[in-house]
Symmetry: D2
Subunit: 343 residues, 4 copies
């Protein structure tokens, strides 16, 4: 049983962490902080937690967090990097669900996030928390940068092809759509039901912050810069990411289906569906699963990969718990056995 | 560990039973039958169950069902009553999620369901599976009639007032709305997204089949016929029932809030929210919980009770598992600890 | 051709007014004001108006408004009452879509809206703009208080029964649900898609501002105070109000259907549907229509009336245009012939 | 004033035609046929048309249709081709909203639609009804093949680039999503609210019937076969198509924005939005408009075009009315001035 703290728990990734941790047998929730809601019982804001999570939001307090074994940051970008060094120094393991430690190059971070990095020296140490790529490094990490939601769906879809060296890595296309919860629990006009339901639109076409993160991850695989066009869309639903990936084959491949099945044969949270399947985002709603399907339409030279995750689970809180399990030596699947809610 | 069978598992209550039973530590799923889908793996129709439920639908087969300890009927009305007598005779416990055993009077059944009852002699024995009313009888029952979704939400809301004898039982009003999953997984025009989303409508105003069921349940409490106007509505969402109940006070009541809190103080699945709360159906999405709030607007003589459940959980499959737990001597909460998915 | 101004045009009633007025052959749009968006072309915020409404938002400017024949206020409550006296004095006709002139008693206004009324002397003159009740008075009015959305749906449903004197006016119940656009275009957590979709909840149970407005309107009909319990709900959709009304019959009525049909025989915007109909809110989406159905379930003494409108049209902007047509001597139906969008 | 008939009017394109034609000043609706609903008033199925469309569905009857000036086919694929020759012979102009006359090569038709073509000799005469490409030919056509919904959105997006000869036409990618109304008003499980809301999925990845139609249209422009990967998706909303198009630049282009603006400068129903815009499907809901935006992310060699239409309007019934206007010498915009409903 470990002691766990959450910093910034009022957002959607925060409440999803609470849902998962409250049902995790190895975890005792010690503290959940929120400046704005300090003193409020968590269940007053999230009535689904009534009777299940009995603590109240508290003021951020280093002492209280330093007493935890693991602290999750579910804060806006730029908060964790200011507090993490002290907690690390006091022996706390950190999982940051924001972007602070995802990019290795502080100049790139500053370019996309609009502020200088507060602890660039930690960037090298931070482990990018995609277990399907970095499992062993995560096990011994003190500081894990939990991947973004789009980057998780997109990388898991491209990796088998890049690892096999069969596609043109300079002209990848990732067309993806996210439910509105990806925008967070913020009072913004664009996220109103009346603005975002019954409609679909692209956004961030000129450049989205997840672009450099995906590029960095994919470039590591091929040990060379990759070229990627990434167009995210806002879909009229609460949860879910659907990524449709396009790449040009540069070598003949006998059997793409087998390539994918072999790549993820031992992965508990990646499900390569049978040939001809059409993954639906609802099939992973509430579950820590990525479902994939791979196609080669009309036998041409373009490969199409379909990849779905729940942006709040495998794309955020679930992957964070998976990382915690690895960092703490628990069963990787502990507390992550939820079956998706369908319908 | 008991052996469990499900008859008619392709509908929404069927898949919800599967979701709950697959995560129940005392249960081994032996058989799930479906004439139309026999031979199909369950996970081919419900991809959320991939890797979690590995059996296939099978033809209905008495021998296979007779080998189970408990059999759930998730069939259309009128099926269970033809098969249950034989299974009971062979020692199987039965939980019927359809309406076959809910009404005590076979003439009333025939009037509302349009067919003569196939085993009227079992109606007296069948226990109406609302644990908050019949817990002890359920524990020793062979045959449990699992309540309808509206009847669960409406009865739990009216019961404290009727038990206290403080309202006019001859003029009750239950105005309720259900998500579209209440109509089942049937290819019907009315349930299409294009017909039912972005709209709200009443239905069954002249008379809905849940009316006699609710009347029977409430009449038992006051030992006299109750008068009830029940208007169900179709709401543009997947899951959830919201019931708004109106009754006229006939006696002064000091504190309605305390009356409700006392009534459900020991109930694990009924949550009386603090005074002034507004229960949302999403706060119980996927959870076996009924949340209640009680009001007396402007201090007048009309009481308003708000009651929410997930129609597929506390209104169907979850309550069925709760009944199974009671019938089999398990912890009543076993396998029912899911926290509602929010957002 | 009249000159029209809109004050506060960035909200949903504002854009709906623009949609209707841009297609109205007798109207020239002179000014639309918004402090926050002054200088912005209207079509930058509402791309559906690209190529159709070419003016920009402007700073509120009395001179510009005073040059109009009619000015609509689509502002938050409490704004119009401060500006209207001057415009009236300069000969402008006013239609206020907010609540400033709906209640006749300034003390009641202050009680429900939390501020003293700025021009109580105008309250007697202001005509409550429900044409089905006050058509003649509206024709000669200088100042029209456009009714609230719930009050429109609820009053149109109760009026035939109250006018006929056949129900107990002391114990009326109005259970109603609104789409989220009723909350306006405001960046509020409760109106986020992730907070309000896939859920249903009641609100304002202790007392909603439309309660005194409805009571006043109904009391006028019976020339006595009415008793009303009003429970509004938030439904997971953009547009639409569905009101389900309950009343106890105090006299025998031969034929409720005929009573309703006779009451609205000459009303262009009230559609009494055939007996047994179930009005859907989507059947009036975008149209200035109220559809009604009346029931007497099981032949008992409770009457149930179903009433649907589009909250932004017959419940706001459409009714405002209807009032403008009456005030300006146009065909009452001018510019209001839109057929509801279905599906 | 012309006489118009509709064959197969119970589907969503049928009711949308009715909505548009009922408000078209040059049209008298003579007949609307439906085998299944003959005798039913149209408004009984579509209550939004109550008081606006007073005719009833009738049995298909050649004499009645032959008396019309224009007949629209809103039937399933394969019906029109059997009846059109006779009506053409009797001087009726035909607009087919199904796919029967869209493909020029009867062998390709048979391959994709699974039946031999009933009148292959008419395929050469039939004009593909995309006014932005074939306006003059449509004006003198007897038989117009109304384009599919995806083909309309995709072709309008690619055309300026192909006409300018600046992209690699052998490797086009069209990633598109449609609302559920694209599947028609059919009682199918996949279109249920509970199956299609709160989810996103691709479909037809191996090959969708709109693929050969788009390829044919684009090939005509470049006078050479084009290569296209087309992946449609089902989005959880009623109306709307969003197409995101990807192409590789083969020549330097000074200003893509100007290229698009020039291409559609005189088109009443194509709106090239300002640089940096993000077209939303809701901005065209109910309107006969295609909105476009063009991007060159990070200044690379990949062009991204965003294209939105209402699948039932510019993607079906609206475009059909536009074609009728051209064929009959009316103002091209007659009856098509509806402003999109927003929110």
């Amino acid at each position: 049983m470990i002691k766990v703290g959450i910093v910034g728990g009022t957002g959607y990734t925060g409440v999803e962490l609470l849902r998962l941790l409250a049902q995790h047998s190895e975890v005792k929730l010690e503290a959940i902080t929120s400046r704005g809601e300090a003193g409020q019982p968590v269940s007053a804001i999230y009535p689904n937690l009534r009777g299940r999570v009995d603590i109240a939001f508290s003021e951020p307090d280093v002492e209280r967090l330093a007493a935890c074994d693991v602290v999750f940051y579910a804060t806006p970008n730029g908060i964790a990097m200011k507090q993490v060094p002290e907690l690390l120094a006091r022996g706390v393991k950190i999982i940051d669900l924001a972007a602070d430690f995802r990019l290795k190059d502080p100049a790139v971070w500053q370019q996309w996030y609009g502020m200088p990095h507060a602890c660039p020296d930690l960037l090298a140490e931070a482990v990018y928390g995609l277990p399907e790529v970095n499992r062993e490094a995560i096990k011994s990490a003190r500081l894990v940068a939990n991947p973004g939601c789009y980057p998780t769906a997109v990388q898991l879809g491209f990796l088998p092809l890049l690892n096999a060296g069969v596609i043109d890595a300079e002209h990848l296309i990732a067309d993806a759509a996210s439910g509105v919860s990806g925008a967070g629990r913020k009072a913004e006009l664009n996220s109103l039901l009346c603005e975002s339901s019954e409609s679909l639109k692209a956004y961030g076409v000129s450049g989205h912050r997840h672009l450099p993160e995906i590029r960095q991850g994919l470039s590591n695989v091929v040990s060379a810069p990759v070229g990627l066009t990434f167009v995210p869309h806002l879909a009229p639903m609460i949860r879910g990411i659907h990524a449709t990936l396009y790449a040009r084959l540069t070598k003949p491949v006998d059997d793409l289906q087998s390539l994918f099945e072999a790549a993820y044969a031992n992965e508990p949270f990646v499900d390569v569906m049978p040939a001809g399947s059409l993954p639906e985002t609802r099939s992973v709603k509430g579950a820590n699963t990525c479902r994939l399907a791979v196609y080669r339409p009309q036998g041409g030279d373009t490969v199409v990969v379909l990849s779905v995750i729940d942006n709040l689970v495998k794309g955020a809180a679930g992957q964070a718990v998976q990382n915690m399990n690895l960092m703490c030596g628990f069963d990787e699947q502990a507390g992550l056995s939820h079956i998706a809610l369908m319908p």
